[in-house]
């Protein structure tokens, strides 16, 4: 029958499109083989600063972004007067579509010096005994890169969360008020109601932040070290690849960069799985 045939064509098309994704991963693996052949597991040891930097920056950025995005979506839905709600929503979506290099330069030239002389100085002076803040503040650092990254992914995550949050039926609000609880509890319960969606939104936003190259490249300092202090300079895998790819002469160098990209992919996978497991544990 004709409709059956059409269905099978659709099916084939879908398989083709999704297999593209697998092909990318397979080609990454194939391109990395020379590097793994040569270095063995020592590859992770020699590129450890980049791997460490990626993990540190993404975790810190996600933590900050969680707070910022949930906060801003609650603010827009619950507190902004109806008349100017549209303005804020448009502003939010505009920020989400900004070219990220603009965030990078803004972070380097404006936010960086400001934070350096205020927040970072405070953290170093009073909390310097914690290894996390043990180096003197510099113009660029893990923390600056994480903050810029968090600010970059917040509008995206916030708009996703806001969409779901605003769809929660009003009957839920009324029910909670009927129990005698206040607005704080209303918000708290509504947020936990959509916790799964928030996790999904943050995962998507995290995916965007993990591969972020230019903004991080400008604000992290590109020094090939792994420091326990957030106020120190460092490097991430995307920044390293962006810097080295153009001048990777030999097959081995190119292959090492591809293997780093594979590592990046695996890190992302681990984080997403961890996030899902964490959520199901809570349930």
């Amino acid at each position: 029958m004709r409709s059956n045939k059409v269905y099978y064509y659709y099916f084939a098309g879908c398989i083709a499109v999704s297999s593209l994704l697998f092909l990318i991963i397979i080609s990454l693996v194939i391109a990395s083989i020379p590097a793994f052949d040569f270095y063995g597991v020592g590859l992770f040891a020699s590129y450890f600063p980049a791997i460490y930097g990626t993990i540190v920056v993404s975790i810190t950025a996600i933590l900050i972004a969680t707070v910022l995005s949930i906060g801003s979506s609650i603010f827009i839905v619950e507190y902004v007067p109806q008349r100017i709600k549209g303005f804020f929503i448009n502003l939010n979506d505009l920020m989400a579509s900004f070219p990220t290099i603009v965030y990078g330069f803004w972070g380097l030239y404006e936010l960086g010096p400001f934070l350096n002389s205020t927040l970072f100085q405070f953290l170093y002076t009073y909390l310097g005994f914690i290894p996390l803040f043990s180096t003197p503040p510099t113009a660029v650092s893990y923390l600056l890169a994480s903050i810029v990254l968090a600010i970059m992914i917040t509008p995206f995550a916030s708009s996703l969360i806001r969409e779901v949050y605003s769809k929660i039926p009003e009957s839920m609000d009324e029910g909670i008020y009927a129990l005698g609880l206040g607005k704080y509890h209303v918000i708290k319960i509504k947020i936990s109601y959509i916790a799964k969606s928030i996790l999904g939104a943050l995962t998507l936003a995290y995916g965007r932040g993990l591969g972020e190259t230019v903004a991080v490249d400008l604000t992290i300092g590109n020094s090939f070290i792994a420091s326990p202090s957030l106020l120190s300079t460092g490097i991430t895998i995307p920044a390293l690849i962006a810097n080295q790819f153009g001048s990777a002469f030999t097959e081995l160098e190119l292959s090492s960069l591809f293997s780093l990209a594979l590592v990046l992919f695996i890190i992302g996978l681990v984080f997403i799985i961890a996030g899902k497991l964490l959520f199901y544990k809570r349930q």
């Binding site: 380097l108 030239y109 960086g112 010096p113 180096t135 003197p136 510099t138 113009a139 660029v140 490249d217 400008l218 300092g221 590109n222 020094s223 090939f224 070290i225 120190s232 300079t233 490097i235 920044a239 962006a242 810097n243 080295q244 790819f245 153009g246 001048s247 990777a248 002469f249 030999t250």
Partner: protein
């Protein structure tokens, strides 16, 4: 019935004629675009349409953009673009074919030159400008008009980038600069994060001039493992990135092509030369370094040039600046596309004739000495189309 037959004959006939006409048009357009010149007649530079993609060194970027602007007002039909991506990427992209012309601050290393020659037939290495590397710094309160120049030696710079000197009030810096009271502040050393010819020249100079660097094992190259990273050294992308970091960061130091220091109003340090004098990079001190140039040391145009990086470093003239270098262009010698070969020849001819005159050289760069200019003009005569020298095929 007869009408239908006639109609179908008409349709077929028209189709055939159309195909023939379109085919002929495409053939001439194709020939025009790729510059196939079966007849061997001379071509007019003003009538060809070609795009030439160049890229590489950030060192030469300001000068290259100025040249391109002037050239395109003469020949708007020859579109030249230059991407400032770093010498390493420039060499790589030239080999892969992305760039028609690669620009590098150091001649390509031997393995790359071999790869390029194997892939493209002969390649010609062309010195295109003289530039120098300035040491820029950001010390709040330091004013050269009041405190004198910041005097530095290769030994001090080596120890800074090795992480052995970490504070500005180190005795070795203070003893050379008694006119300023250095605070006890950490030195933030800025280097390049990408594959850079500027780094190559800087590290070669350190390797040749400072025993600390030579024995450290760091070596020289487009990228090196900077020991100072452990103390908070920063990597900037391109000369632009290093300049931005030094401008932004107090008590920092970095190495850039001198034009970037001039354009951004950054002070440069006076570096000790082999005669023991501390010299600032300016057109005088740089041109004095050129006097000792021995052009007979140039390799053949299509040979490996990687041994002559140090040709202009540490010149013996007492007032010369020690970190002076050529920047280089690398091109394929033989082309199968006449328009491309002609366009490249036209642009390079412009650079090495009008482009070397005083009004066309950007501040901070120096024109090639006359003997080098003549040498280069002979080099570009080697550019050939199907083994015929291109300059003989250009009519204008």
């Amino acid at each position: 019935m007869a009408k239908r037959l006639a109609l179908s004959k008409l349709v077929i006939g028209t189709t055939i004629v159309a195909i023939v006409i379109v085919g002929a048009l495409l053939y001439t357009v194709y020939n025009n675009m790729t510059g196939n010149n079966p007849s061997g007649s001379k071509i007019n530079l003003n009538s060809i349409n070609v795009s030439i993609i160049m890229g590489g060194s950030t060192f030469i970027n300001p000068q290259m953009q100025a040249w391109i602007q002037k050239f395109s007002s003469k020949f708007p039909n020859i579109l030249v673009t230059y991407q400032s991506v770093g010498s390493g990427a420039g060499a790589n992209n030239f080999i892969s074919g992305t760039y028609d012309v690669g620009a590098t601050d150091a001649p390509m290393p031997t393995e790359l030159w071999q790869k390029a020659t194997a892939l493209k037939g002969s390649v010609i290495t062309i010195p295109d400008i003289v530039g120098s590397e300035a040491i820029i710094f950001n010390i709040p309160g330091f004013d050269p008009s009041k405190n004198g120049n910041l005097n530095l030696t290769a030994s001090i710079l080596a120890r800074i980038y090795l992480g052995q000197i970490s504070y500005w009030d180190d005795p070795s810096i203070k003893s050379l600069n008694p006119g300023f009271n250095f605070p006890h502040q950490k030195i933030t050393a800025v280097h390049r994060s990408d594959g850079s010819g500027t780094t190559f020249v800087f590290t070669v100079w350190l390797y040749l001039t400072s025993i600390e660097w030579k024995t450290s094992g760091v070596g020289y190259g487009y990228t090196v493992n900077w020991p100072v990273d452990k103390l908070g050294g920063l990597g900037g992308k391109g000369n632009e990135g290093v300049t931005a970091y030094v401008k932004q960061t107090e008590f920092s130091i970095g190495y850039v092509e001198v034009q970037y220091a001039i354009a951004n109003n950054l002070e440069t340090a006076a570096i000790e030369n082999p005669s023991g004098k501390f010299v600032l990079p300016n057109s005088n001190s740089i041109s004095l370094a050129l006097l000792s140039l021995d052009i007979t040391k140039f390799p053949q145009p299509t040979q490996d040039w990687s041994n002559i990086t140090a040709l202009l470093l540490n010149s013996q003239d007492p007032n010369s600046y020690p970190i002076v270098t050529f920047s280089y262009l690398v091109i394929q010698k033989n082309y199968s596309d006449l328009n491309k070969a002609a366009g490249i020849y036209a642009f390079l001819n412009y650079i090495f004739t009008e482009g070397q005159s005083n009004g066309n050289i950007v501040t901070g760069y120096l024109p090639l000495p006359t003997n080098v200019q003549n040498y280069v003009l002979n080099e570009i005569k080697l550019i050939s189309y199907n083994s015929q020298p291109v300059y003989q095929l250009i009519s204008s």
